[in-house]
Amino acid sequence: MVISEQPKYTKADFESDNDVRWCPGCGDYAILSAVQQVMPQLGIPKEKFVFVSGIGCSSRFPYYMNCYGFHTIHGRALTVATGVKSVNPELSVWVITGDGDGLSIGGNHFLHAIRRNQDFKILLFNNKIYGLTKGQYSPTSEFGKKTKSTPMGSIDTPINPISLAIASGATFVARTVDKNVKHMMDILKQAAEHKGTAFVEIYQNCWVFNDNAFVSYTDKDVKSDNSVYLEDGKPLIFGNNHEKAIKLNGFHPEIIKVAGSNNPLIHDAKSEDRGLAYVLGQMGVENPGLPVAFGVLRKVQRPTYQELLYGQEEQAKQKPKGSLEQILNSGDTWVVK
């Protein structure tokens, strides 16, 4: 993105004059505010931002940003974003989706956008529930979850969005939580700066239909025992007094005491092997008993879809095959007199 002139924005520049219509207490507010605070720091002209969303409470997001936006249809935001970014790679494209939108109906586009390394950001608001349709279980709801559509409890094993993103070859994968605005802003900034698909899972509290789903990671009494904040090149240390660490036993992470430390695991977000990020992403989600990892799990570089697309175009332009006139007149032609 070539930036000629860097306008100075404030948060207010990114606030639209549409009434925000989420329930009072919804975690979406914090995310909106974090995004509005990060935008002015990116040095990108406001008119170059595009917010594309699907359908869901979370997907109302674009209405509240004073930017270009497209509130598309359920589960399909990534496909629209693909077209937007492909014809105008100058734009900064942000996709807003929910756990239902992005992983239930939209699961296929999720994995294909990621494997192509489409050059946009994906913010997945994971509240482990369908909010807008009033409380059915979602692909991230816990096994056994009782909801309107599962009165005896869900019998589906949930998806871990991070595992799926990594298996799809994601180049940037991170996790954060609505209540930790500072962390969220840091992650959003890193995502913005990443070239290629940046996938950010945001734990988001749905106050009405699934309150306290993430209380283990937000309640001040317990959060430090249940969360480990990743820093690249640093050991995985957590606990109220930073007294615990993670160590690997084969592929299995285990909790150890920092005191008398036995080689705590050192985070390496840039590792070409996906194994580490995969195992870290599973902690506390697919592997209970372990803290959940927040922060950037993986951040590697490979050419983006748009770079490759325009690269081929450039290459083709080196050997143009003819003007419209010539194209029309190609093939076996003959003249009738």
Partner: protein, 618 residues
Amino acid sequence: MSTTQTKIVKKTESLEEAVIRFAGDSGDGMQLTGGQFTTSTAIVGNDLSTLPDYPAEIRAPAGSLAGVSGFQIHFSSKDIHTPGDALDVLVAMNPAALKANLQDLKPGGMLIVNTNAFTETNLKKVGYAKNPLEEESLTTKYQIFSVEVTRLTQNALEDLKLSAKLVDRSKNMFALGLMYWLYSRPMEPTIEWVKKKFAGKPDILEANLRVLKAGYHFGETTETFISHFEIKQAEIKPGKYRNITGNEATVLGIIAAKEVTGLELFLGSYPITPASDILHELSRYKYLGIKTFQAEDEIAAIGSAIGASFAGGFGITTTSGPGVCLKSEFINLAVKTELPLIVCDIQRGGPSTGLPTKTEQADLLQALFGRNGESPVPVIAASTPSDCFETMLEAFRIAIKYMTPVFFMSDGYLANGSEPWFIPSVSSLPKIEVKYRKEKEGFAPFVRDEKTLARPWAIPGTCGLEHVVGGLEAEQVTGRVSYDPVNHDAMVKIRAKKIANIENDIPELKILNGSDKGDLLILGWGSTLGSINAAIEKLLENGHKVANVHLRHLNPFPKNLGAVLKNFKHVLIPEVNLGQLRLLVRARYLVDAQGLNIVSGQPLKVRDIVEAAEKLLK
């Protein structure tokens, strides 16, 4: 049968027209043979029309009925309209090809067969208890020419030491050469083509040329054929021509529109027969900046195209019926957000997977109504292979001028069929104006142009015009989400009116044949044009007061359609469906239009139309 070199002087009969079909196993190269014959025929200056017929299987078992591949060509010294109902010559490379095609050969027609392929095994494969070539029912009804094509090909290549497979694969050239002789076509275009195509493979090059010539000389020298034919050049508009299929013309239309508009062109597509070739072809034009995206499915394909249009490019998506099903939710989003987009539906036999390689016209009502809510879209249809070019330009014009998705309808018959095309000059192409909104003053996403009712195209990156569009109902002018009852009713009606008004911006319908009053009007749309034109000529010849008109615009209809209909006692609407246009016409004009509806995966036969018309005229 002798291959003596003595040259015999043979009679040349002059004909007005001929319909021939090459038929053989999928592996026999019949499509290529037909394509070459077409080129030479075009160069001779005949008018022509072709109909390829592929099997649905990639490569069905050799010698099986399912594996038969055919290519039909109708050529003439006069103007012609269809690939022909019945065959003058059938070339059958094996028993399966004979069995699958014989019913189309005219009584007394020429049946040229490769007798070497009529082995017991091959006969059994298709359920012939006896060799049919020896059956009296055949020998008395047709002129049979038994040619040992396989053996003659082997002979011709004896000293080259090629693999048996390669030798076998060359035998189509023998048939081609023979037919060139039979219809006095020049071999040069094919010789040139072989030389270019196999430049790096001297063996194959040599083999092909030898066999081609062997076939030609066989006709010339052997006593099997006593005369051959000549078909004079047709009187066609002077100029430069090429032969073109519907899919090719569609691609050229897209490229031309891209160049004319200067827009970024983005094709989002997912392969499906018979539309895939458009994706293949277009992907070869990256040097023009044309972007093609093979998406993970049809939904992603159209979604990406809509994203492209939102961002100021032009989005197209190409598919066939089952793909239209998947795209319908997104088409509705484009209707609601009023973005330009073209949805190409290359119709095939349905319902469901149906007959993927066959033609049909049964997606018309789907295009019009296949979405929830009131969702008006313009629908236009091409009527001949080359007409796909102009129709595509028209689709662009409407999509951009009216900020709307447009359905472009073609079908399997147009897509793969071909005809000579008068190559237009670039300067003669219609101008299509593109205006992005730039001024902030008075901007709102849904302020409308007074005349077209189109909303402005304000694209991301434009400072000061930031706005959000989406699928929820929008307030008039401001475009904000609105649940207001009065507003919704108004918006539903404005969207309908915007599309209905296009009738003021499209040409009035013209009588194509016959006069503008009479006993019977034949009304058609899409690929039935050729058959209808031919039928009308017959009917006029037979002294009937008939005429025909043909619709390119299915929604809205041309303004004068109602008036045209009123001037005829009867209206006949022949369609390769159960009466879809008929339903629309009856509802709109309360005219007791009758249908001719044969849904067999094939273009309508001229004789069926003539018959249906004469029944009505009684």
